[in-house]
Structure formats: structure tokens, C-alpha cells
């Protein structure tokens, strides 16, 4: 074992230690939040330190879980991307959450930050897991760790939303994902992720098709219709949690798992030869368009953003079902660009809710003058998600289109384009109203407090930076995927 291998468990341990620190400092709110932010920075540093070793096949075995099955970490490019997104956005969200919760005077802030850190630990666990069993454990821990966050406010709405959240995520994971994993284990005799696919040559087309569908619906966190219901239900959570769910950890864990399973369990070549992923292309395409239409028709800002997430996640799942190197690279890049875009949008929505007490799109008229930074950031992030230059989303959508073209999937190509047009239609009117419509009533407030605005400006800058840094982000993937 090399010294650098130890970085893998350390990346999981840092957020866990932060949980302990948060609990220990429960009587000192300022120290508690400082600990959270420091933990976040330490984690970001650790994960960035992994970048030079991206191609070196780092491994760390924890222990043998059952005879013949061990819990193990390994570093590979997709996981590195996901880990980086989560690690970099965690401290940003923490600063924001501290500002948000204090502005709202929320109860149970210690519990909030403890479970927040626990969720990040689960995200690291998932990103670095070397086999399906390790990944599944992290996946379920994440579901459980986010539930207290979703139901944080504690009222009847929170209870209802929490019920849907847990019911959908656990039903899919226990009912579909677990059998899929066990089946894979029985077919291949192992649950290890392998380049080229664990199941390559182990099963016929029929079995692979069923198994692929089990995985894609079983990974409820990827929010493919009809298992997307938990995502809008989770909107009852405080906004920083929504940002965490949508951008940092939960849905990203879902699509990351989809990509990982596609590449390292099925193998792109196997999927291309057997066409086992083809039926799911249609499900993803339907989700992409249907969710976009729902988003367009939602007046509630957070609900609109939630359905926008469902639609954007379907881009990534669609990329996986195309089973082409370029498409998967596009999906991976979209995981990153969408994270930065969507977190900015949610941070803006939260800043608007706290400062202006508005939650509906139709109430935002004329707020742009009072909150210029917030709405400018909103505009930047919207354009990135739509996929226009000069913002990060451009490249991910470009690679996705290339992938669809390479797979000769004209329908997928059209769906991708229409989806972007719909995104244009549901996102841009928001800053448009804020900047160009006259206010409904005199605006009695200014910009949101600095702890809220600073993070969202940072992430908006991130959206711009990704346009120029896309090559660097994709560089680790070049080792495993063929890129143009």
C-alpha cells in the first residue's frame, strides 16, 4: 500500500470527524460553523490532492464485510469528478446555510449541520467505492442521513414530504437496486467495478436488458420518471438542503451511480453490442421532456427548479443509455456543470425567499433592481444550464449531442435540443421578470445579506470558469474513455 492510498479513507473520515466536531461544539454556534467550514476546506484540499493520482489506481481495503465480500475504496476518474464537486461545494453551501438558518432563526441547527456533514461523508463513500456493495451501503446511508434534513422544519408538510422522500427512495433501492446488485453478484461472482464492465460476456441480451432497467429505476436518486416524485416532495426542506440535494450530493450520487454502473458494471461495448440500454433511452427522453414541461407550468420557484433538475438529470441518464464514450464524457461533465448551475439557482431562490419573502415566479417582478447580484447570478446559472456560451453547460451539451449523433440516435438528438429550448423557456423568464418588469409593489429591501450573496456569486463564477476549464475537468477521464 502506498502512502497516497490513505487519502481515500481520509476523504471519508474528514466529514465524519466534522460530524463529531459539530456535535461537540453544539453550545457554541460560531465555533460550530467554523468547524464545518474548516472541515469542508480540508476535504476540498484532500480531494484536490487526489487529482495528480487520477490514473494511478489507488485502492484501500477497509475490511471484509461478509465472507467473500469486502468493503473497499478505489479511485477512478468518474468518482474523482463527483467527489470534487461535492467537496468543493460543501464549504460554500455551509457558509450559505449558516447565513440562511440564522436569518430564519431555525431550530435544531446543530442537528442540521451534523446530518449535513454526514451526507457529505456518504457522498465521499459513494464516490470512492470500489464495488457495488460498498456503493450501496453509502447510497442508503445518504438516504437516511438526508431525511432529517428534508423534514427539518417538522410541520405536517415536512412530515408528508419526508414520507414521500423516504418511501420512494427506499422502495426503489430495496425493491429494485438491491436485487439488481445481488443478481449481478450471482452472475459475475463479484461486485467489483471493472474497466470494460463486470458483466461483459456473463449474461445474454434479455437478462442484461432487464438488469439495466432494474438498475436505472432502482437508482431512485437519479429521478427517472416515474420514480422522480421524491424530488419535488423534498422541496419542503430549507433551501440550503435543496441545494445540497440537487447539486452537491443526492441527485449527483444518483446520476454518478448510473454512469458508474453503465461504464464499470455493464461496459459500454457490451451495451452497444447487445442494445440492452436502448429501451431505457426512451424512458430518459420522456422524462427529459415531460419534466421540462412541468417545470414550465410551475409558478412556485422551488418546484420549477426541482422539475428542471429532473429534466437535467435525464440528460445524464440519456447519455448513459447511449453507451458511447463521448456521451458518457458529456454526462460526466454535465454532472459537474449542472451542479454549479443548479446550486447557484437554489442559493438565489433561498436568498430571495429570506430577503424578499417571495416564493412564486409571478411575484418576482421588478426585484432585479433591489437584488442585482442575486439575479445576475441567477441569469448566469440559467444560461449555463441551458447550455449557451460562454458558460460551462455549453460543453457538456455539446458532447451529449456528439454522442447522440455518433450513436445515430436522431430522436435523442432532437430531444436534447428541444429540452434545451424548454429550459430556455422555463428559466430565462425569471431573471427577465425581475429585471424588466415594473415592481408589483414598492420594494422595501435591498440585496440579501453577505453570507447569502457571497456563496452564490462564487458558484456563478464557477459556472463561467467551467467554460474555460472543461478540458482540465475531462482530463482524468481521457484515460478510460475515448474523447474527441
Amino acid at each position: 500500500m502506498r502512502d497516497v492510498d490513505v487519502l481515500l479513507p481520509i476523504a471519508v473520515a474528514i466529514p465524519l470527524l466534522t460530524v463529531g466536531a459539530v456535535l461537540a461544539l453544539r453550545r457554541h454556534p460560531n465555533a460550530r460553523e467554523t468547524a464545518s467550514v474548516l472541515g469542508g476546506l480540508a476535504l476540498a484540499a484532500t480531494v484536490l490532492a487526489l487529482w495528480p493520482s487520477a490514473g494511478e489506481d489507488l485502492r484501500f481495503e477497509l475490511w471484509s464485510w461478509l465472507p467473500g465480500l469486502s468493503l473497499e475504496f478505489a479511485l477512478e476518474p468518474l468518482g474523482l469528478l463527483f467527489a470534487t464537486v461535492a467537496a468543493v461545494l460543501w464549504p460554500v453551501t455551509t457558509v450559505y446555510a449558516a447565513g440562511y438558518l440564522r436569518a430564519e432563526g431555525e431550530h435544531g441547527q446543530t442537528r442540521f449541520f451534523a446530518f449535513f456533514a454526514l451526507t457529505i461523508a456518504a457522498a465521499m463513500w459513494i464516490a470512492l467505492s470500489a464495488n457495488l456493495i460498498t456503493l450501496f451501503i453509502g447510497y442508503e446511508i445518504m438516504t437516511l442521513a438526508t431525511w432529517p434534513l428534508v423534514t427539518h422544519t417538522g410541520g405536517p408538510n415536512a412530515r408528508r414530504g419526508g414520507r414521500t422522500y423516504l418511501a420512494v427512495l427506499l422502495t426503489t433501492s430495496i425493491g429494485l437496486l438491491l436485487p439488481a446488485i445481488v443478481w449481478t453478484w450471482l452472475l459475475a461472482g463479484s461486485t467489483d467495478f471493472r474497466p470494460g464492465g463486470l458483466l461483459a460476456g456473463q449474461a445474454g441480451t434479455g437478462v442484461l436488458t432487464v438488469l439495466f432497467a432494474l438498475y436505472l429505476f432502482g437508482i431512485g436518486k437519479a429521478a427517472l420518471m416515474p420514480v422522480h416524485r421524491w424530488l419535488p416532495a423534498a422541496m419542503v426542506a430549507p433551501t440550503p438542503v435543496s441545494a445540497l440535494l440537487h447539486a452537491v450530493a443526492v441527485v449527483k450520487a444518483g446520476v454518478f451511480t448510473v454512469l458508474k454502473v453503465t461504464v464499470s458494471v455493464f461496459g459500454l461495448d457490451t451495451l452497444t453490442e447487445t442494445g440492452a440500454a436502448a429501451p431505457m433511452t426512451w424512458v430518459a427522453a420522456f422524462t427529459l421532456l415531460a419534466a421540462a414541461v412541468v417545470a414550465m407550468r410551475s409558478d412556485n420557484l422551488k418546484r420549477r427548479l426541482a422539475y428542471s433538475t429532473v429534466s437535467q438529470l435525464a440528460y445524464i441518464v440519456l447519455a448513459a443509455t447511449l453507451a458511447r464514450d463521448v456521451a458518457v464524457a458529456g454526462g460526466a461533465l454535465h454532472l459537474v456543470t449542472h451542479a454549479f448551475g443548479k446550486i447557484t439557482l437554489f442559493l438565489c431562490a433561498g436568498a430571495i425567499a429570506v430577503t424578499a419573502h417571495r416564493t412564486r415566479v409571478s411575484e418576482l417582478d421588478g426585484l432585479g433592481r433591489a437584488m442585482p447580484w442575486t439575479f445576475a447570478a441567477f441569469l448566469v446559472a440559467s444560461v449555463s444550464i441551458i447550455g449557451l456560451p460562454p458558460l460551462g453547460g455549453t460543453w457538456s451539451k455539446w458532447l451529449l449531442l456528439l454522442g447522440a449523433a455518433e450513436a445515430d440516435q436522431v430522436v435523442a438528438l432532437v430531444v436534447l435540443l428541444v429540452g434545451s429550448l424548454l429550459a430556455l423557456a422555463y428559466l430565462l423568464p425569471i431573471p427577465g421578470r425581475a429585471f424588466f418588469r415594473p415592481p408589483l409593489e414598492p420594494v422595501g429591501h435591498g440585496e440579501a445579506r453577505p453570507a447569502l450573496v457571497a456563496p452564490l456569486i462564487l458558484t456563478a463564477i464557477g459556472c463561467v470558469a467551467l467554460f474555460f476549464a472543461a478540458d482540465a475537468v475531462l482530463a482524468p477521464l481521457a484515460g478510460t474513455l475515448e474523447l474527441p
Binding site: P67, I174, G175, P179, W185
Partner: protein, 494 residues
């Protein structure tokens, strides 16, 4: 001394029982005697478990050689059960001091410890014995003392629950005896290994088939296999909390072990699972048990009854694994025997803490208590997740093993029942959580309730932590379960 370990395993608790009765004036001393009995059986079980790697241990009672005298056998297939029973006994003993003191009349408390010693004797004896008639005797020792224990519950309904179990349980025990009688009639021997030898010559003997049916139906009552589970919910629901903690964790598990012992090492898997459709019937009943038990648990208003119905479903998981009669299936069944004992013991213990503090375990009375009793409810949530089977709890390890065994055997309908039952478990565990955290506490809640005693909380949390440990590192119970399956299936009559 160490050569006599198999006998000491049973004799120490047996000797402690009359001691408790003699010392009944000194309540604390009787408790201490039971604690010592439990500790000594744990010590014996651990020592025995370390010795069976080299092969099974045979002990001849009174020096009479095997087919004539009574033989005790300790092998891979019963060490996990010995460990489970004695660990749970120790935890229940620590827990019992305050719990029994609170729930049972002072004059009767020594009787509780006497009966607990006897139950422990019966369960351990049933596990180590290598003689079928001796097994019946121990079965009756454990059953009779259990009836008495249940009757000592704090409500009058406990008497009814006890009487009901007495009737059903006696029918079950009689069936076992009739079955043993038939087997004796056709073979002329009562020693398990000897029976197994002689039965191989008796292909197609009707009396033998009758023996198998009688023994298994009788054991099914003791295992509480659906639809013979009717005694269980009231028995566990009404018994004193310390008693339900011990019984829920240990008693049905031992009956399950005896089922395995008879099926694989006495009658033989060929007769039981190939010639006779015990496997198919078992799978069907197991699937029904999972669905009915979990569904019924969703509608219970009392936490102890809810947990008891959940036990009916969880026993279904174990029976499903064993009914597959494959190495993976039997191993999964054993793994769940271990994990479920730990989980259910902790849950009934936590329910007892609520009874101590609130005087009731009705779900309506739990409203809003999550914040007031964080440790108790955290224990319920963690182990409740174990019932659902989500990682990182012990229940997940069992579920993994069971799902893979079922998939491997192609038992799809049962697999669906397992998954559906897990989701129903989510519903009933969710009801507890919502009652505790999402409902407002009643306005007239007295502010100065008794604090939960440290000994009880510690006992419950010992099991909770064990269940989490078995979830994140299942290699210890998994290894024991694999060894048990190998001993049952591989070597035949040990």
C-alpha cells in the same frame, strides 16, 4: 473440568433455579443468581465455540455410551445458537433488575428469576442435546417456565395470553412427542445420530412420514410459523418487558434450530426436502408469514404488539432461508437468527424502557417523546432500520444473504414477498418515528417522570451497538452461519 463443558452449559442454570427459590427472601440475591447463571452459560458457550473447529464434541451423560445413554453434541450447527441464547440471557439479566422490580410484584420477583433460570436451562438443553426424547424434555422445561413467566405480566390480560399459549404450546409439544414416538417405534432408538443411521434403511415407511409431519408441525407451533403463530403476539405483548426481551430474542430461535437439527441431521435432507415437500410448504408459509406479519404490524396500536407481529414476519425470513435447503439458504437463515435476536432483543428492551417511564407502550402515548427520551428512541430507530434491512444495520447483512440465496435458487415469488415485507417494515417503523417526533406531546405530561435506569439503557444499547457492528462488519456472524450450514449439510449426522 473443560471436558464437562457441554454438561455445565445446562446444569449450572438448572441448579440455579431451585437456588433462586430457596433464597426468595432476598430479592437482589435471586437476581444475582440468575445473572451468574447467564454469565456462566455465556462463558461455557464461548469456550465451546472456540473448541468445535476441530470437529464436533460428544459428551456422554453419566458415562453411558451413546446410543443407550443420553448424549450431548456440540458442533458448528449449535454453537451460534448457544452464543445467541447466552448473550441475550446476560443482557436480559442486566436489564431485568430494574425492569422486573418495576413491573412485577415484589413477592413474585424471585419467581421470575427462578423461571428465567429454568427457561434458560430448557433452551440451552434443547440446543446441546443429541437425544430426541431428551429434546422433548427440555422443550417442556422451557415451555412450562415460559407460560409461568408470561402470566406474570403487569396486566390481567397476561393471564389470558399465558393460557392461550399454554393450550397451543401443549398441543405443539404433544405433536413433537407423538412424532418422536413414531420414530422410536420404527427404529428403536432415541439417539439422533443413531436414528439418522437407521432411518436410511426405512425408505417409504408411512410411520416415518407421520413422524416427520408430527415433529415439524409441533415445532412450527414453537417457532411461531404462520399460521401457527397465534399465541405469539399476545404472549410477547403481555409478558414483563425483561421476559419479552429474552423470549423474543431467544425462544423461537432455538425452536428453529431444533427444526434444522431434525430436518438435516435426523430425518435427513433427502427425506425431508426431496421425498416430502417440506421445503415447498416452508417457502409458502414463510412468504405468507412475511406479508401477514408485516401488514398486521402496521395496524398495531401498542408498540410491544407491533414488535411481536414483526417477529412473525422476521421468522418468515429465517424459515424461507432454511426451506431452500441450500448452503446459502441455511446460512442466511442462521445469519438472521443471530441478527434478529440482537435486533428484537434491543427493540423489546427499548419498549420496556417506555413502559417503565410511561406505564404503557401505546403508540398514542409516545407522541412527541422523541426529544425527551433521545437515547431510547435513537435505539428504536437504529434497530428499527435493522428490521427494514437498510445498511449499515445488521438486518441488511441478513437481507443480502437471503436475497442472494433466494435468487440463486430461483425462488422469485418468495423474493418479492421478502422485498414487500421490508417495505411494510418501513411503514411500521415509520409510524413509531412519526409518533415520537412529529406529533405534539400531550399537554398534561408530568414533568418529573422517573429517569430511565442506566442499567436498562446500557443493556439495550449494548444490543444496539452489536447490531450496528454486525451491519458494518458481518464477517463474525456470517462466518458462524456459514460454519453452521456446512455442519448441517456437509457432514450429515454429526
Amino acid at each position: 473440568m473443560t471436558a464437562h463443558l457441554p454438561a455445565l452449559q445446562v446444569l449450572v442454570p438448572l441448579g440455579c433455579a431451585p437456588l433462586c427459590l430457596l433464597l426468595r427472601r432476598f430479592r437482589t440475591v435471586t437476581w444475582l443468581v440468575f445473572l451468574l447463571a447467564a454469565l456462566s452459560s455465556l462463558a461455557c458457550a464461548v469456550l465451546l465455540a472456540t473448541r468445535v473447529d476441530d470437529g464436533p464434541l460428544h459428551y456422554e451423560m453419566g458415562g453411558w455410551p451413546a446410543p443407550y445413554g443420553i448424549e450431548f453434541v456440540v458442533a458448528g450447527f449449535n454453537t451460534p445458537v448457544l452464543l445467541v441464547v447466552s448473550v441475550v440471557a446476560v443482557v436480559a439479566a442486566v436489564y431485568a433488575r430494574r425492569s422486573v422490580g418495576d413491573e412485577v410484584d415484589d413477592r413474585r420477583a424471585p419467581l421470575v428469576y427462578t423461571c428465567l433460570c429454568l427457561t434458560l436451562t430448557g433452551l440451552l438443553g434443547l440446543t446441546v442435546t443429541g437425544d430426541v426424547f431428551n429434546a422433548f424434555v427440555f422443550l417442556e422445561i422451557s415451555s412450562l417456565s415460559t407460560y409461568a413467566l408470561i402470566a406474570m405480566g403487569r396486566r390481567r390480560r397476561a393471564l389470558l395470553a399465558s393460557f392461550r399459549y399454554l393450550v397451543i404450546g401443549t398441543v405443539g409439544a404433544t405433536f413433537v412427542l407423538i412424532g418422536i414416538g413414531f420414530a422410536y417405534a420404527v427404529t428403536g432408538t432415541l439417539n439422533m445420530a443413531d436414528l439418522a443411521d437407521r432411518l436410511t434403511d426405512l425408505d417409504g415407511n408411512r410411520a416415518l412420514y407421520a413422524a416427520v409431519v408430527f415433529v415439524f408441525v409441533g415445532l412450527a407451533v414453537k417457532m411461531a410459523v404462520f399460521p401457527l403463530h397465534a399465541w405469539l403476539p399476545a404472549a410477547y405483548g403481555e409478558a414483563p418487558s425483561a421476559v419479552s426481551t429474552f423470549l423474543a430474542a431467544a425462544s423461537t430461535k432455538v425452536a428453529i434450530y431444533v427444526f434444522c437439527r431434525f430436518a438435516f441431521t435426523v430425518f435427513g435432507a433427502g427425506l425431508v426436502f426431496t421425498t416430502m415437500p417440506v421445503g415447498e410448504v416452508g417457502l409458502l408459509l414463510a412468504a405468507l408469514a412475511m406479508l401477514v406479519g408485516s401488514a398486521a404490524a402496521c395496524f398495531q396500536r401498542d408498540l410491544k404488539y407491533l414488535l411481536a407481529w414483526s417477529s412473525v414476519a422476521q421468522i418468515g425470513y429465517i424459515v424461507a432461508g432454511i426451506s431452500l435447503a441450500t448452503a446459502a439458504g441455511v446460512s442466511a437463515g442462521y445469519l438472521h437468527v443471530i441478527n434478529h435476536a440482537v435486533i428484537k432483543g434491543a427493540l423489546f428492551g427499548a419498549a420496556g424502557l417506555l413502559v417503565l417511564r410511561l406505564g404503557s407502550a401505546r403508540l398514542d402515548d409516545l407522541a412527541g417523546l422523541g426529544r425527551r427520551m433521545p437515547w431510547t428512541f435513537a435505539a428504536i430507530v437504529v434497530t428499527g432500520l435493522g428490521l427494514v434491512g437498510v445498511p449499515p444495520t445488521a438486518g441488511f447483512a441478513s437481507k443480502w444473504a437471503l436475497v442472494s440465496a433466494l435468487l440463486d435458487a430461483g425462488a422469485w415469488p418468495v423474493l418479492v414477498a421478502v422485498l414487500a415485507s421490508s417495505l411494510l417494515a418501513l411503514v411500521y417503523v415509520g409510524r413509531i418515528v412519526e409518533a415520537a417526533w412529529f406529533r405534539d406531546p400531550p399537554a398534561d405530561l408530568p414533568a418529573d417522570q422517573p429517569r430511565a435506569p442506566v442499567s436498562m439503557v446500557a443493556a439495550v444499547w449494548a444490543l444496539v451497538l452489536l447490531s450496528v457492528y454486525f451491519g458494518i462488519d458481518a464477517s463474525l456472524p456470517g462466518g458462524l452461519a456459514d460454519a453452521a450450514a456446512a455442519a448441517l449439510l456437509g457432514t450429515g449426522g454429526a
